[in-house]
């Protein structure tokens, strides 16, 4: 009995059990401190749909042994370019969103290819290099947002008349285009963003299916044992670049889904930190730097967004102080550190 319990715990992982029970506890406390449970559930679902794809975007690169994608911002920038260009063309509604997706994918392929070339040169140091690549890309694009000749008055600065705003509303273009698709209400406060969830599910399915194909298994082989892969005649560098492009495309789609739900396109420094929550989520879900399963993505996104939604409101109402934010920082970064140290323990 004890052995079996141990087995279950090992399978799910102690940290996930702890976090899940912590989250559960927050939900139990919530009604007593005046936080509505149904709106909280609604928020968690909405955030899950919004952020899930960004978390998923880490998947291919982990599989191919490129590590955690600290350069996620490149994909985000591709998505942002797609979004602002589609807005500039003033295509509204579903067509606008599709246009944004197409443009984003084109940019993501270009960025991903170059990024992949670079990462191939720095095998073993991918994560640190990627962090800096991400940061420098964001500041480079800050210059570009000001200089690129965008004209649509919805997007440019209110006063100066030149350069893009820090936040651009998607209202009137493709705001909630996915969220409202087939959406339905449960009770008075829970709205299920069916379209966004379906889109997320579709992407998960594509990724899952891809890793069942020959190309997918090759990618996995490159990640788990590059030497063996090479001896099997797989072009390791090429496969790695493919995985980076794949990741970058998903990240670009992820930010588009995020924006249609959020209602704003955020430029300049907004993408700077976007890699961290996604990485925290996937690690929280039980992935490691080299190993990942689909359920890690789903569970991680759910738990992380749950913590993010619940801690500020519940703890805030509980202790009536702004300290909740500090506690959140400790918990989420503590989880990342824990996850980074974990695998070595298993091996030794």
């Amino acid at each position: 009995m004890n052995e079996r319990l141990k087995g279950i715990i090992e399978n799910i992982g102690l940290p996930r059990l702890l976090i899940a029970s912590f989250l559960l506890l927050l939900f139990i406390i919530a009604p007593f401190v005046g936080v509505r449970v149904d709106t909280s559930i609604n928020d968690v679902i909405a955030r899950f749909a919004m952020n899930g794809i960004l978390v998923l975007s880490l998947f291919p690169m982990i599989k191919s042994g490129c590590g955690l994608n600290f350069g996620l911002q490149l994909g985000v920038i591709a998505g942002l370019l797609g979004a602002v260009i589609s807005l500039e063309m003033k295509v509204t509604g579903f067509a606008g969103f599709v246009l944004a997706i197409i443009i984003s994918i084109v940019f993501a392929i270009i960025f991903g290819y170059l990024y992949g070339l670079l990462l191939n040169k720095v095998k073993g140091e991918e994560m640190v290099v990627a962090t800096y690549v991400g940061f420098s890309a964001v500041s480079f694009m800050s210059i570009m947002w000001l200089l690129l000749p965008f004209k649509n008055p919805d997007m440019i600065w209110a006063y100066g008349g030149e350069g893009l705003r820090t936040t651009i509303s998607t209202e009137g273009y493709w705001h909630h285009i996915l969220n409202d698709f087939l959406s339905f209400q449960i009770g008075s406060h829970i709205t299920i963003p069916t379209g966004a969830l379906l889109f997320f599910a579709l992407l998960c399915l594509i990724v899952w299916a891809f890793f069942r194909t020959k190309a997918g298994t090759a990618m996995e082989a490159v990640g788990s044992n590059p030497d063996y892969a090479r001896s099997c005649g797989i072009d390791v560098d090429r496969v790695r670049i493919q995985s980076v492009i794949f990741s970058t495309i998903i990240a670009a789609l992820g930010i588009l889904v995020y924006q249609q739900s959020f209602g704003f396109i955020q430029l300049y420094n907004a993408p700077l930190m976007m890699a961290f929550p996604a990485i925290a989520a996937i690690l929280l879900g039980g992935a490691s730097v080299t190993k990942v399963k689909m359920w890690n993505v789903l569970l991680g996104a759910l738990l992380f967004q749950g913590i993010l939604t619940m801690t500020p409101s519940v703890i805030n109402n509980l202790i009536k102080s702004d300290m909740s934010e500090t506690i959140r920082i400790i918990i989420s970064n503590g989880m990342i550190v824990y996850a980074l140290t974990r695998r070595m323990k298993v091996r030794s």
């Binding site: 955690l68 600290f70 670079l118 040169k121 720095v122 095998k123 073993g124 140091e125 994560m127 640190v128 290099v129 962090t131 800096y132 690549v133 940061f135 420098s136 500041s139 480079f140 800050s142 210059i143 000001l146 200089l147 961290f276 730097v289 300290m323 500090t326 506690i327 920082i329 400790i330 970064n333 503590g334 990342i336 550190v337 980074l340 140290t341 974990r342 070595m344 323990k345």
Partner: protein, 383 residues
Amino acid sequence: MKNQDSLKTVNPVKQFFINYAVPILFIIMIVFAAPMSGLSPVFLINEVMTRLTRNSFLILSLLIPVLAGMGMNFGIVMGAMAGQIGLILITDWQIVGVPGILLAMLISTPIAIVFGYFTGIVLNKARGREMVTGMMLGYFMNGIYQLLVLYGMGKIIPIRDKSILLSRGYGIRNAISLDGIRQSLDNVIKLDIMGIQIPLVTLAVIALNCLFIIWFRKTKLGQDMRTVGQDMEVARMAGIDVEKTRIISIIISTVLAAYGMIIYLQNIGTINTYNSHEQIGFFAVAALLVGGASVSRASILNVFIGVVLFHTVFIVSPRAGKELIGSAQLGEYFRVFITYGVIAFSLALYAWRNRIEAENERKKAMMLRRASLQNEAEEGGNL
């Protein structure tokens, strides 16, 4: 003979450019940007001197973990926190001048040792990913620091000085003026040569740190660290306690970082209580890399070249960018882009260089083997 020649095919000129690509790039940038910025030479030299005395100590604290093969220690952020706690306390007690600085260092030492020990343990568990883990650990500890300083001080740790305590009764204000110790180390003896201010004592302290590092490398412990850095398995077989050695290297680094932060802040004159330390790691690492160091090899010379080049670009690029593109804020974005871009570039270059070297090694080894086989064959033929 022919074989011997082919062994030397690594072109020394090319090798030099590969090794020093980043410093060379920076020198070129400065040559173009400095005149464009419109700053007077005296101002520029003075400012570079300030940066040199302000930042060198902090960057020197990165050297020892590199020796132990742990890469760039982003965990110096925690040393910086320890230094700040020391400074907050002496400000509250109103201890001023050089004694104040020394007392702050004294207080920060045990805190830094504890932080360093903790960092060392965590990094031992995250072997092979020390840099990313160190970075994340910094974010994590930032939360703990906030908890301690914003909620603990005034409640648990008594703070009497009303000018640093928030009026709500607990928590330290977001900015603290270090009037009492401001530049007191720099001003003990200050030379003025043609308008250029040279703070001798601070420089002496930095020199002392350099001597310490040179001496330390020669000790038994320093040698052990080098062995651990080169090959952990070999070190273990030689009877070295690898884990302990690595922890010690991080502790030394953290303590030095605490002192470095105190020197840095006494020159700046104010503390941003919750943010001063956050980017210290990023900038220190950047400067060291710009100086031509790599993740596995960093010397004292790299530190000084790095500080001068990196900070000169920092000083001139916003203004040069402004002149170049014609807008003040574009100059600012340009500067940030340069900072991060250069780090990415130099890290990439380093990793790439390593691979080329490994490749060369492999070729060399193969050639040697082939040569020896040939020799054997020839000798065999002779017999």
